[in-house]
């Protein structure tokens, strides 16, 4: 019996190991991790360093590039070997498409995008919380089937301290990778300007309320004065491409929890809220008093951003003299 974690992204795997350790302790089981891919053998240390006691290695040339179909086979094999009570998978895009495929193969449930996980001691059940019904409510749920699977968005849990002196058991798992009639023809890199919005302490974020690209300069100026990083909602990055995707905050973009998140001209669609609702302080500036963003805001100004932002800039400048 184990708590098993997997993410193809080792950073996320480390975060899951942190939480997994807590769950394993509650359940009185070992903490295990799956290492899957081509040429991954030898990288177990990365997982031991963050607390894995056992690493199940599936190393096969057909496991590169990542295909959800082949990774599903590999993970189903690891589950057969490890017989986990609980499986945590990173809710990266690849994780989000692979976990349900694995769960379906195992004929079990999957808590998607869990933001909180705990063990019910009496029933030995994994209790997951996740945003549901347009993120208006938090659903508390458990799985009637085993293993109990949950996916966890990146940066939901803290990465535990790294300890390179830790060692553990390596279990090699053989898998017959099925032939998938699928070919990756090309991977076009996304333009990366090198900002990591997840690390920003203060974020000023723009949305559809901005009428043209040049107007973002207004918010850039404010961000400069406040020492904030520029964020944006889906349309700005994905549809209009006024900012590179590293600035995109939302469920499909980046999930952030800064000390302050200022949403300017962002109405607060569910997908956006899911990416920033854990921010410590939320400020909303929007001309529509009914905009959903105000419901999640600590402080708000109902007004035209084209008046509010210049007024803020002028006020801050006057104070800074």
């Amino acid at each position: 019996m184990t708590v098993l974690v997997f993410s193809e992204n080792l950073e996320v795997a480390a975060e899951l190991l942190g939480k997994g350790q807590e769950l394993a302790r509650e359940l009185g089981t070992k903490l295990a991790a799956a290492l899957v891919g081509s040429g991954v053998k030898g990288k177990e240390g990365e997982l031991f360093a963050y607390g894995a006691e056992v690493v199940y290695v599936v190393d096969h040339p057909s496991l590169s590039p990542f295909l959800p179909e082949t990774y599903t086979e590999a993970l189903v094999r690891v589950v057969e070997e490890a017989k986990p009570e609980v499986v945590l998978m990173g809710a990266t895009k690849r994780g989000r498409e692979t976990a349900p495929r694995v769960a379906t193969r195992l004929n079990v449930g999957c808590a998607a995008g869990a933001t909180s996980l705990r063990i019910d001691r009496e029933k030995k059940l994994l209790i997951a919380e996740r945003p549901a019904i347009s993120a208006m409510v938090v659903a508390t749920e458990f799985s009637k089937t085993k293993p109990q699977i949950a996916t966890v968005p990146p940066r939901t849990f803290e990465k535990p301290p790294r300890d390179d002196s830790r060692k553990g058991e390596v279990v090699e798992v053989k898998v017959e990778v099925p032939a998938v009639e699928k070919k990756v023809l090309e991977l076009k890199k996304k333009e990366v300007k090198g900002i990591k919005i997840e690390d920003a302490e203060l974020i000023t974020s723009c949305g559809r309320g901005f009428r043209k690209k040049e107007d973002l300069k207004l918010l850039e100026e404010l961000a400069g004065l406040m020492g904030a990083t520029l964020g944006c909602s889906r349309p700005i990055a994905a549809d209009l491409k006024w900012l590179p995707e590293d600035h995109w905050v939302g469920l499909s973009g980046h999930k952030v929890k800064p000390r302050m998140y200022m949403a300017v001209g962002i109405s607060g669609q569910v997908q956006h809220l899911a990416g920033m609702r854990d921010s410590k302080i939320i400020v909303a500036i929007n001309k529509d008093p009914e905009a959903p963003i105000f419901k999640v805001a600590d402080y708000g100004i109902v007004g035209d951003l084209y008046q509010v932002i210049p007024a803020l800039i002028n006020y801050l400048k006057s104070r800074k003299g």
Partner: protein
């Protein structure tokens, strides 16, 4: 080529409210609509019909009211619709839902392409597409923002991943989930809405789909929801009043007080 689009009718998020005393969602009188991104999947199917004479189908699992969602899809240009409705389907989780959809797709038969949105607006789990692909034992192509080509038993798509855009070729049949960026869904015109309202739409229940009651609905679901409440962590919800200079001054004042700004 036969293309099936799976859609979901959801509560209009704009109308949803939480009862502050119970912290429960108030759904009475809230209207339902097609989940936004599902329209992108419908649009993509209609484009395949126009360009490549695909025969198109739309299915949805839901209550009788979900018929409206199907009629809207028909008005957008889909050829045939089936409502998957049965009291036994109520409270299905993603696994039970995928079983119902998979059974319907098998019943439609000879399907080359299954289209869904990358996720629904309400649950946003993105699980039904991959679950469906697993049940049908088909390759899955998720987060597709461009269908490059379909033909000769193959499909080439461009997927939107964190690290880049992945161009993938897969053999048909396949399950494809699309993102909002893939297209701009058309609006149904009045004559088409009129025509769609007259079209015959069959309803399939568990019996028609050959599903046992323990495979679907609450009984067939693996996930059990204990409660769904608005989060306790309340926000301050302070809206600054008065004239703009005063609002701005008060905002800066609180940000300084919270230790977020130095002036």
């Amino acid at each position: 080529m036969r293309v099936v689009v799976c859609i979901k009718q959801v509560f209009d998020p704009a109308e949803l409210k939480v009862d502050p005393s119970t912290r429960l969602l108030v759904t009475d009188g809230v209207s339902r609509k097609i989940s936004d991104f599902d329209k992108n999947a419908i649009e993509e199917a209609v484009k395949l019909k126009e360009k490549q004479k695909a025969e198109t189908f739309v299915i949805t699992m839901g209550p009788a009211d979900a018929m409206r969602a199907l009629r809207e899809a028909l008005a957008m240009g889909i050829d045939n619709a089936y409502l998957l409705s049965d009291p036994a389907f109520e409270n299905s989780d993603t696994l039970a839902t995928a079983r119902v959809l998979a059974a319907a797709i098998r019943k439609i038969g000879n399907v080359d392409l299954v289209l869904l949105a990358e996720a629904s607006m309400d649950g946003y789990s993105g699980m039904v597409g991959p679950r469906l692909a697993a049940l049908l034992n088909l390759p899955q192509l998720t987060y597709v923002r461009n269908i490059v080509s379909v033909g000769d038993g193959k499909i080439v798509v461009e997927r939107d991943l964190e690290e880049g855009y992945e161009v993938v070729e897969a053999k048909l049949p396949a399950v494809v989930t699309v993102t909002k960026e893939i297209n701009e869904p058309r609006f149904a015109t009045l004559p088409k809405i009129m025509a769609a309202s007259k079209k015959k739409v069959d309803t399939w229940g568990a019996a028609e789909l050959g599903l046992k009651s323990e495979e679907v609905g609450l009984a067939g679901s693996a996930i059990q929801v204990m409660k769904a409440e608005a989060p306790v962590m309340g926000r301050k919800n302070v809206i600054f009043q008065g004239e703009l200079p005063q609002q701005v001054e008060e905002l800066v004042k609180v940000l300084v007080k919270e230790g977020l700004l130095k002036v």
